[in-house]
Symmetry: C2
Subunit: 260 residues, 2 copies
DNA sequence: CACCATTGTTTCTCTATGTGAAACAATTAA
DNA sequence: TTAATTGTTTCACATAGAGAAACAATGGTG
C-alpha cells in the first residue's frame, strides 16, 4: 500500500472489503454506504457491491430499517473457531478461573499483534464494577502491564517500532519518554512481572506476568486488572507473585520446562 | 456464478475469500493452500493470492513452519465489536449470571441465523463437567430447546425450510418426523418453553424460553444446558419456570411490556 | 544421494471482472 | 413542491484477476 512495493499484488477488491470490515469498531459499530465510501475513499458503487457480497456470506448484516450495515454472525462463528483452535485458550482456562477466585479480580491472556496488545481470553470477577475490556480488544502495549511484559521479552525491533509510532499520553502515569520506557522494561525483565498504575486509564491498575512456550519463548502475557483502590501499591508485589506462578503453570501446560 | 442469476453481481474474488474463511471450522481449524484449492474447487494460484491478501489484513495467519493457514486475530477483534454492539448482550449479562448461580448450569442466549441456531452469549457454570458449546457455535434448530423455541415463535416459512432441508437423527430422541415436530412446537408455544432431553446429544438436557423485543416479537432464546442426571424429568417444569421469568426480565430490559 | 511427488509462489497472457461516472431510484428534508 | 442526499444499477472501458504452466522449495522413498 504505502510502504513495501512487493506486496502490491494483493487482490484489490478483497483488500477493500477487508479494510471495510476492519473499519468497524466499538465506536462505529454500524455505518452507511456513503459513510464508508467517504471515510475510506472508495467509490459509492464499489462499497455498495462489496457490502452486498459481504452480506451474502453473513459477514455483515444490513438493517432493513436504517439501511445501516453492522458486522454479521459469521464473524462470531469464526471467532469461536479461533478460540477453540488456540491451545493456550484451553490450557489457561482452569488456571485463570482459580486466579480470579483467589484474587477477586478479572484476568486476561493477551498477545502482541503488530503493535497492539490484543486480549485473547478473559475471565471476569464477580465484582459489580467491571466492563473495561473484552476479548479482541486492542490496546497500546507501552501503557498496559501485559503490553510491557510482552515488549520486555520481545526483540528490540518491536520496541523500536512502538516508540517510532509515538508514545501518546493516555492517562496521568503514561510513560511517554522512550528512555523511561526502556528503563521500565529492564525492570520488568528483571522482576519477571509488570505493573501499570493508571498508565492507560485513570483509577485502573493491572499486573502481568509472562507465559512461555516449550522453547522458553514468551508467547503471551497473563494479567489481572482492577480498580486502583482494590489494588493498593503495597499489595502489588504479593499479587504479582501469584500472577507469576499462575503464568508458569500455564507455561508448563504449554510444554515449558524451566531450565535455570 | 452458477446458480441464481439475480445474485450474479457479487464480487467473485471477494466471494471466494469469504467462502474460504467460512470453510474454517473447529474440525478444520488449519488448512494448506492445496487443501482449500481442492475442497472449494478453486485454482491453486487463486487461493494463494487470496490467502496472502487475507493475511495482509490479519484475517488469517500463516504458520511459517507448517505453511498452514489458520484464522487470524482480526476476527477476534471484530467479534468483540459484534458482541459489544449487541444490546441483548449487555442486557442479559447480569440476569444470566444470576440464573447460572441459582441453577448451577450453563446458560446461553441464541438466535436463528438462516437455518441454524447460533449461540451469541454463554455464561458457564462452575461444575467441572461442562459442554462443548461456545459462542458462535451453530446447531440444528429442531433438536435443541432454544431452536425449538425460536421455531415455535417464528413464521411457518422458516419451519418449512428447516423440514425441507431434512430432519437428521443426531441422537436417540431427535424428532425426525415433521408431524411430531409440528405437534411439539405447538406444545412449546402453549407452554412458553421448550425442553430437549437427548435430542441433540446423548446425556444432555436443555430447557429454553423466549426473549421478546419491544414489539413483542421473539428475537432470541434463553436456554440452560446440563447433563441429564443433573436435570431429571421431574425437575424440568420447575426449572422452566425460572428460565421463563429470566427470559421475561431480559425482555423487559429490551423494552418489552407484557400486554395480555 | 539422486529421484519423483507435492507443495506454494510467480510469471505470463487474455478474458472477464471490477471500477468509476453517471443515470436512476428511493428517501428524507426544507 | 422542490431540493438534497442517499443506495443501487447501468454502461463502457481499462485493468485486475483467473488459469495454465513454469518455477522453486520441500519431503519422502528407494
Amino acid at each position: 500500500m504505502e510502504t513495501n512495493n512487493q506486496g502490491d499484488h494483493y487482490l484489490s477488491s478483497l483488500k477493500n472489503a477487508l479494510r471495510i470490515l476492519n473499519s468497524f469498531s466499538m465506536d462505529e459499530p454500524e455505518k452507511k454506504v456513503s459513510e464508508i465510501s467517504s471515510s475510506l475513499g472508495l467509490n459509492k458503487s464499489t462499497v455498495s457491491r462489496t457490502m452486498a457480497t459481504l452480506a451474502s456470506e453473513g459477514f455483515v448484516y444490513k438493517d432493513p430499517e436504517t439501511k445501516k450495515y453492522r458486522l454479521g454472525l459469521s464473524i462470531l462463528t469464526l471467532s469461536g473457531v479461533v478460540n477453540s483452535s488456540m491451545d493456550i485458550y484451553r490450557e489457561s482456562q482452569p488456571i485463570l478461573n482459580e486466579l480470579v477466585e483467589t484474587l477477586g479480580e478479572t484476568a486476561h491472556i493477551s498477545v502482541l499483534d503488530h503493535l497492539d496488545v490484543i486480549y485473547l481470553h478473559k475471565v471476569e470477577c464477580n465484582h459489580p464494577v467491571r466492563f473495561l475490556t473484552h476479548v479482541g480488544r486492542r490496546n497500546p502495549p507501552y501503557c498496559t502491564s501485559s503490553g510491557k511484559v510482552l515488549l520486555a521479552f520481545s526483540n528490540e525491533a518491536v520496541l523500536h517500532s512502538v516508540i517510532e509510532k509515538g508514545l501518546d499520553k493516555y492517562s496521568k502515569n503514561t510513560i511517554t519518554d522512550p528512555l523511561k520506557l526502556h528503563a521500565n522494561l529492564r525492570e520488568v525483565k528483571k522482576n519477571g512481572y509488570a505493573s501499570s498504575v493508571e498508565e492507560l486509564l485513570d483509577g485502573v491498575t493491572s499486573i502481568a506476568a509472562p507465559i512461555y512456550d516449550y522453547k522458553g519463548k514468551v508467547i503471551a502475557a497473563l494479567s489481572i486488572v482492577g480498580p486502583k483502590q482494590r489494588i493498593p501499591s503495597h499489595k502489588i508485589q504479593g499479587i504479582a507473585k501469584k500472577v507469576i506462578s499462575a503464568g508458569l503453570e500455564i507455561s508448563r501446560n504449554m510444554g515449558y520446562r524451566k531450565i535455570d
